[in-house]
Symmetry: D2
Subunit: 323 residues, 4 copies
Amino acid sequence: MTITELDHTDPEGAIAAAVARCSNWGRWGDDDVRGTLNFIDDAKRAQAGTLIRRGASFGLSLEFSMDGPQKGWRRRTNPVHTMLDTGTDAEAGIQGFPHGLGGADDVVAMPLQCSTQWDGLGHIFDHGRAWNGRRAGEVVTSEGDQVTGIETVADLFVSRGVLLDVGRVCGVDGELPDGFAITVEHLDATIADHGVEIGTGDILLVRTGQLARAKRDGWNDYAGGAAPGLSFTTVDWLHLSRIAAIATDTWGFEVRPNEFDIAFQPLHQVAIPNMGLFLGEMWDLDDLAADCARDGVHEFFLTAAPIPVTGAVGSPVNPIAVK
Amino acid sequence: MTITELDHTDPEGAIAAAVARCSNWGRWGDDDVRGTLNFIDDAKRAQAGTLIRRGASFGLSLEFSMDGPQKGWRRRTNPVHTMLDTGTDAEAGIQGFPHGLGGADDVVAMPLQCSTQWDGLGHIFDHGRAWNGRRAGEVVTSEGDQVTGIETVADLFVSRGVLLDVGRVCGVDGELPDGFAITVEHLDATIADHGVEIGTGDILLVRTGQLARAKRDGWNDYAGGAAPGLSFTTVDWLHLSRIAAIATDTWGFEVRPNEFDIAFQPLHQVAIPNMGLFLGEMWDLDDLAADCARDGVHEFFLTAAPIPVTGAVGSPVNPIAVK
Amino acid sequence: MTITELDHTDPEGAIAAAVARCSNWGRWGDDDVRGTLNFIDDAKRAQAGTLIRRGASFGLSLEFSMDGPQKGWRRRTNPVHTMLDTGTDAEAGIQGFPHGLGGADDVVAMPLQCSTQWDGLGHIFDHGRAWNGRRAGEVVTSEGDQVTGIETVADLFVSRGVLLDVGRVCGVDGELPDGFAITVEHLDATIADHGVEIGTGDILLVRTGQLARAKRDGWNDYAGGAAPGLSFTTVDWLHLSRIAAIATDTWGFEVRPNEFDIAFQPLHQVAIPNMGLFLGEMWDLDDLAADCARDGVHEFFLTAAPIPVTGAVGSPVNPIAVK
Amino acid sequence: MTITELDHTDPEGAIAAAVARCSNWGRWGDDDVRGTLNFIDDAKRAQAGTLIRRGASFGLSLEFSMDGPQKGWRRRTNPVHTMLDTGTDAEAGIQGFPHGLGGADDVVAMPLQCSTQWDGLGHIFDHGRAWNGRRAGEVVTSEGDQVTGIETVADLFVSRGVLLDVGRVCGVDGELPDGFAITVEHLDATIADHGVEIGTGDILLVRTGQLARAKRDGWNDYAGGAAPGLSFTTVDWLHLSRIAAIATDTWGFEVRPNEFDIAFQPLHQVAIPNMGLFLGEMWDLDDLAADCARDGVHEFFLTAAPIPVTGAVGSPVNPIAVK
């Protein structure tokens, strides 16, 4: 049933075979725009609420800053944040407001996937097809995602979160090296180590440690370069797990270089348009992971509400875990 | 102790007097950047977690769209969302990716306060002074807020939320008219009606119904025009309540036109730089309010995590209430 | 040979007939990206140079400002200009430069056709075909115009300019009313009035007076609303004139509402993809026109060099006429 | 009268002394916003017109592209050009226009000094003072340059241009090495070689050859790194020459590293706020220079009209030389 060996010369064949096993097209009806978020329901959220015990809160977002990792690949830049009004202006008394009021205001221009983000279901296509079998060109035009824009799921990212600190369990000093492919064996070993179970509707957070390395050594090729990440061979595991979403502390979720001779993000091609699985990238899991290592509790209440830019195929998010 | 009558000709005097009574400068130390968020602690968040019962989740954000309310005042435009890659391109087979992969990517340019948002503590100054007594020009320069940028509090907006549906209790058909000043009496009447108590560290959501009107009738002058909102006379109530933050379904939180002959947002001038109180604006409270009216429960778990744009004086947010 | 009467119910037929008469596809080879700019050569430019007599220079660009005419139609906003550094910051001594140096820097975000501009040849398509018969989808993708981007003609807009002040000759107080269709008769009458000849390679500037009205009365619906402009019936005249380009003081070059029952810019559809004719819009011709009225000389040296944004389908320009 | 030796430890003293000799404050009245552009008059432009002989036209602008030299220093990025509508969309038949019309439209976000540009007079300050002695904080606020915005001089850059190909005369294979300080001796040697004279109101173009190197070898540190350029010791020569403006093929006009132990662009500090001299940067002079080397004629008619972004302290420009 699962992949044991990859033919490195045939990504297209491997993708097609995985799609044949793992596709969710039609699973939630023809009009579905929620994909695997359908695995979350009120009962799941209510159960997740019981995981709030100490009341400790963890923000999982990187800053959105000009000093971020982007280097211009596919016109992805770092955010450019500029001021419309400043305190220096206010202090200089030139703003024209009455009774001593002064103000500052600001603007940002940024790619929606420049920092901590969710991939929307319109982000990736498989042979011209988007999620649920729709034509890519009918879904995402120059005016944005007309069907599965991130605004359609903006309030659904609330569930039980589970951290799998693969870096800590399978790596050295908490870090996996670049190019390390996380397999089902690594996931299972981490689950066993943590003593946690994965359930329907969970949002899974996989820490590789690469971001910790980037914080220490500089961004270098963090955006798009070699990285640890999910192996293509985890595709059935991801499908059968019935998780609602998965996020990593890396730029691109899956291992880079990819595991085929000539390929680009093949696991995305199965996960997003065929499974309807939501992928989070560039999440900062380090503080949360340190806490989980301390108290041995790797489950928590998680909200990760994307900014609902109408028609967006990805979206900035500041996820909050509460234990 | 509280304001009974306003001298409409003297906003500067009224502001100074309110500041004398309500300032929190120094209350949490000289280095503080959290203001009233200091009222939230682990115990508060843990207690808030117990409010998750049914598992129903409510997103409180408007869409971030070109069709939003902004009209260019102070260079505040609606978001401009453009695509870097599209499904039409993918379908046309011109993207150059291997194995049938296609992609879409996007960019946004927007004022940080164009839609649902938190005001940061660097947003407003009082006579050249920012929160905690710092010089405005030392805090917010062209490079952004160097001290109280929204990234410094990005993970702190997690607490008990309480909805005060003043529109439903004191208005007609659930809506207060533009120019309606919400006083302490209205707040107290709403609290009594709802049978809810306000406690230290709560995040208060005040619904006026103006947004429901805008959804029905069009934006018109929603951004900056006449609006229902908090009366300047609520300043002591806000101070003594020990709330962590307050948000409304209006553009500007306080009543407009303001309650002085010549004035601009005088309550902001006390609340932000002097009290360190976080203000949320343009929150969409309608679905939540309908649910609260149905089940009579006006308290809930609330996360409202701003996107941590480094140095921002305001930030987009997609708040999530869970009951 | 020319159009005498339009069938107002059949724009598609009228366009097809005009294309049959006026197409320039293949005229300058299969690889051509210059269209009617091919009519300009060194001799033409040298002759244009002799028109510089007094040395008087006229800028023909509107300001690029937040106070411009755009209202958001098709996401066209006015430019948003923000500062990266300011003089207030410099004066406050917080910039960190040595020896007393201070600096200011700035950023702009804008649609390329928000103010005075050239339409590029990739701006308009006819039944999926771009200039010279190429497929629209092969020419202009999400990555911009891959073939006829404005950078390919950036240094070619140098020629003899001729002003036709139709507003002054055929209008009232120098202005044509909105909806006024400028026909061949109006063009000929203006040419006769001015005592000027139109020659191969000229850049024609047609003043309607609408911009003067907008300056006086406010923008109102200048961007996209009713306007005086070229009649569809001028299409053969434009073709036979062998002009290199034509610009107007209106938003959209041709008369609005268009002269068919259901239509949108039909003359564009012939002129740009089929004739390869460059159209300039929102040019400020008023000062130049006043000078021409004074001295009776309606010809001049003209440069109108677009900013060569790579792959752009339109471009800001500050045209300079010298007499 | 001129500088013979620099004290490398005292840039502030050298600047002050140069200002004492070269300041133009008050020279053209208290209200002046034109600085050295005052040296151009109608007679000058008329004389420049006589330099148009062959009719050959040269564009001197780099492309404005994501592949430009900017690397984020002081938030200066390369332009981000995105499409609002595309040919792929048009071809897919989803745009909703009548009679077979399709359209493409686009947007750019860019720093105003990201590519070929003019520095405005509000770009640099000397000890808190802007051009003509005004306070920096009164001139350039968060709302832009209130006094000397580039729109105030948008139609004045029309004059005789003179190319000084210092790279060809004083360099190896037409290129000066990085760090090469161009002195008065080099300027004079180039003038003598070319057999050209510099006159009042000229716009001087100085070619170092660095851009040719960058085109061949890649941008590397072109934006802000080591570069050939004008020596601080040319300050009196620049002043006494009565030129209207000067431009180079480098990022920063003056030699980098600067000629003092600790310094940043000291010649800017004299030239812009004190002399009111307009500086052009990142001009592509290579084709023009090759032509001048061929025919021995180093003078020409030049227009270099900035895009008049209201309040801008710098502006994109596509300069056109005609010989």
